[in-house]
């Protein structure tokens, strides 16, 4: 502490022996040296060699990049890691560098140091990167690729049509071009991380007699202990909690079923193809599972429908009190995913039984995991002209 006080006292008065020239010159020179050194160090962290000095970056993303056109192509221009992953603007770059301190944690805790761990986190990491690209309309791509410099004639007719439309609205490139520099995460089989992040993984405690909505597609079981699956419970389905036991909960699923075969599919309402649950044949025929009420004929198909309540077990997680967050997520996803290629029809443009066909016909064009697909389809059906009478 004493040395500090001595320095403070010295600094607090005019210099007695050092000339103003010496002080200002040394400060000026140090300023130059420091700033030069700072930028050199900053640039050093902005090289590919620095990025791949970590094993997890070298072994997966760097190797995958080498399979793509961004690594080698006929013009001999290639993209390095920071070209796409670090903003070029100084302020944004500094912010990104700070943000990257998060990666140091990952390195210390060995979050993605093996192939398995990397693959398990791939979708999460890719989602984060996509979000970053979304945020600034794929500026990282547009540093090199420019809509205004595109030579339409050398594109195929279909590409022209899509690209011209994208150029008009200055669309973010990764809206369509995902998985072009690294492998695309397996979207179809993983559970929806973005959906879970937004809606949560369910209430911490369930009240017997309370009604809840499923926040993911859930497996059904015969009882509270068995691993034998008895079917699946669709996302955004209303259930009544009848009994809880450990990690399992017995729920009542109200709905209607077609009186064909074992009648194992439960629909949201009479005559509507909105899926609530699909039981296995054994479960549908099991004593005490299905309670049957009144019966009606659907004049459109001539089929007999029965009102039923299925009482069956599922896991306790992903049951939420409020349905709205699920619909909010579905609406956002619908408008962002579908507007990529065309103006999406309003929800009430089709009726509940037309939507599945329309939706399934388009789903191949977008990357959507199965939970999100099921949710968006259900959102469209339950907001269709069948329910919303305001539309034509």
């Amino acid at each position: 502490m004493k040395w500090f006080i001595t320095i403070w006292r010295t600094l607090n008065k005019p210099a007695k022996y050092l000339t103003l020239g010496t002080i200002s010159l040394s400060a000026f020179l140090m300023g130059i040296i420091f700033w030069g050194g700072f930028n050199t160090a900053l640039e050093m962290t902005n090289t590919e060699a620095f990025c791949i000095s970590c094993h997890s970056m070298e072994s997966k993303p760097y190797q995958e990049l080498q399979q793509t056109v961004h690594w080698s192509n006929h013009s001999g221009v290639r993209a390095t890691c920071p070209d796409c992953h670090v903003p070029h603007n100084w302020t944004r770059k500094i912010a990104r560098k700070m943000e990257a301190s998060h990666d140091v944690w990952g390195w210390l805790l060995q979050t993605v140091n093996t192939d398995e761990k990397f693959e398990a986190k791939r979708l999460e990491m890719a989602s984060r990167e996509w979000k970053r690209f979304d945020r600034d309309d794929s500026l990282a791509c547009k540093n090199c690729h420019d809509y205004a410099s595109m030579k339409w004639e050398s594109m195929s007719k279909l590409a022209q049509k899509q690209m011209k439309r994208a150029a008009e609205i200055d669309q973010s490139c990764v809206d369509c071009h995902k998985g072009i520099a690294h492998k695309l995460p397996d979207m179809g089989t993983s559970r929806a991380p973005e959906l879970i992040a937004q809606v949560g993984s369910g209430e911490s405690s369930l009240q017997v007699g309370g009604t809840y909505f499923t926040a993911l597609t859930k497996p059904l079981y015969f009882n509270d202990t068995t691993d034998v699956e008895a079917g699946t419970l669709n996302i955004a389905t209303k259930v009544t909690v009848l009994e809880t036991q450990g990690d399992r909960v017995k729920v009542g699923i109200d709905g209607w079923r077609k009186k064909v075969g074992a009648g194992r599919v439960i629909y949201y309402d009479f005559g509507l193809n909105i899926l609530s649950a699909q039981l296995s044949k054994e479960a549908a025929l099991e004593e005490g599972v299905m309670e049957i009420f009144e019966q009606k004929e659907d004049p459109m198909t001539g089929l007999q429908w029965q009102r039923v309540e299925a009482k069956i077990w599922t896991e306790k997680d992903f049951l939420v009190k409020d349905l709205q967050p699920l619909w909010d997520y579905a609406r956002e996803t619908y408008s962002t995913s579908c507007s990529v290629c065309h103006t999406q029809p309003s929800e009430a443009h089709f009726d509940a039984n037309t939507w599945p066909g329309m939706f399934q016909g388009m789903i191949a064009f977008v990357n959507m995991d199965q939970d999100t697909q099921a949710l968006v389809q259900k959102y469209l059906q339950e907001h269709s002209s069948t329910f919303d009478k305001s539309a034509h």
Partner: protein, 56 residues
């Protein structure tokens, strides 16, 4: 304090001044600048993370 200075030799004062100058330009100001830039970057990161940024 003036009495104190009178008591110390000129060579001691000069070395004190040199040390103070060295401390400032080699240590204190670089550290302050780096933490300042770091804090600036961190604030922008937080604004982007929580406030969301206007993309257009």
């Amino acid at each position: 304090m003036a009495e104190q200075d009178l008591a110390t030799k000129p060579s001691q004062v000069k070395s004190k001044e040199l040390k103070a100058l060295g401390f400032i330009i080699f240590l204190l100001f670089p550290i302050l600048t780096i933490s300042g830039i770091g804090a600036y970057g961190f604030v922008i990161w937080m604004i982007q993370a929580f406030g969301g940024i206007v993309s257009h």
